[in-house]
């Protein structure tokens, strides 16, 4: 199925559950709310025309610098082995309580990426069998990939262009 057909099918069959479904740059992108994620996931896995049986990755994004609501997003991408198409689910999460249900009961390959979401962003994955830090040490405080977490706490020891470098690290150019 092409990306347009996938988007049409989801808009027709999962009408109340998805927030938005578009085709951007040839990819089928579906915006879902966290409560509806599991239902949509079951649908896209079991439906014989869609049959998304392969989880590609789960990523988190922090949109703090772009000042949009909701602040966080969890992005899931699935492939279908038999039909050779892909879909991307984008789940917007609120800043004060970023919670998303697990999909590891459907795709076992989601175990590690969801632990990484918890570790790097602080998302709360409900229903995950083993939610603990994956990449950072266990006693680490903070979630490194948040936009307000500093990149480094120490300056370069010796540099010919110290000011330029520290500016580049500390401040971002305006995004708008």
């Amino acid at each position: 199925m092409t990306s347009e057909e996938i988007v049409e099918k989801l808009k027709s069959d999962m009408d109340g559950k998805i927030l938005e479904a578009t085709v951007t740059l040839g990819d089928a992108v579906v915006h879902v709310s966290p409560d509806a994620l599991h239902e949509v996931a079951v649908f896209i896995k079991d439906d014989p025309d869609l049959k998304f049986d392969y989880l590609s990755y789960i990523s988190g994004v922090d949109y703090l610098d772009q000042d949009r609501e909701p602040r966080f997003e969890a992005v899931y991408e699935f492939h279908s082995i038999d039909h050779n198409h892909s879909i991307r689910l984008r789940v917007g999460l609120e800043e004060d309580d970023p919670t998303v249900p697990t999909v590891s009961d459907l795709w076992l390959g989601a175990l590690f990426p969801e632990r990484e979401l918890f570790d790097m962003f602080g998302f709360n994955i409900t229903g995950h069998p083993d939610l603990r830090r994956l990449i950072m040490p266990e006693a680490w405080e903070g979630h490194p990939l948040l936009r307000d977490y500093p990149l480094t706490t120490e300056d370069v020891t010796f540099s010919h262009n110290r000011d330029y470098k520290s500016d580049l690290v500390k401040s971002k150019p305006p995004t708008r």
């Binding site: 950072m136 040490p137 680490w140 490194p144 990149l151 480094t152 120490e154 370069v156 020891t157 690290v169």
Partner: protein, 194 residues
Amino acid sequence: MGLIDQVADKIEEEIGNIKLNAKEAAEAFEAQYSGAIYDSILTTKLGKVVGWAQKNALWPATFGLACCAIEMMAMANSRWDAARFGAEVFRASPRQADLMIVSGRVSQKMAPVLKIIYDQMAEPKWVISMGACASCGGIFNNYAIVQGVDRVVPVDVYVPGCPPGPEALLYGIIKLQEKIMNEAGTSGAKKRAA
């Protein structure tokens, strides 16, 4: 006038005697209480022989962390044979190794492990910091990488590069061998053997 000169000479002689006595007394004291074999000319030569033996049989411990480990493996292979410089086998157990080549970036989680492995090595031991990441943090100046492995273990030779070619690492090992030879028989080597 002659009397004063004589007295001055006598005083100088006495001071000289006291100095000599003090030196002998100090030496006798040291010889009595140190018991180390590095204390005479004969044993300095022995120290040089020991240093020659150590430098020609430096067995590295496998401590390949990241990309530099691949170039370390390339150094151990047939093109840049490290075995001809004495680094014959890479020992997996740190207790059997005397050289630790920290090859790769050391993350915050790995630093305690690095220290434990270093502590498990038996004296005398040397450390080569291979690559830019191990020497100074490399291109990664961030929260996750220890900015230089010399914050964790004492380093003898730094080999720059990203990754340093096997010939650069071999040059680092040769420099380390020169360092061992220069230190052999002196108090520097004595500190390592303690």
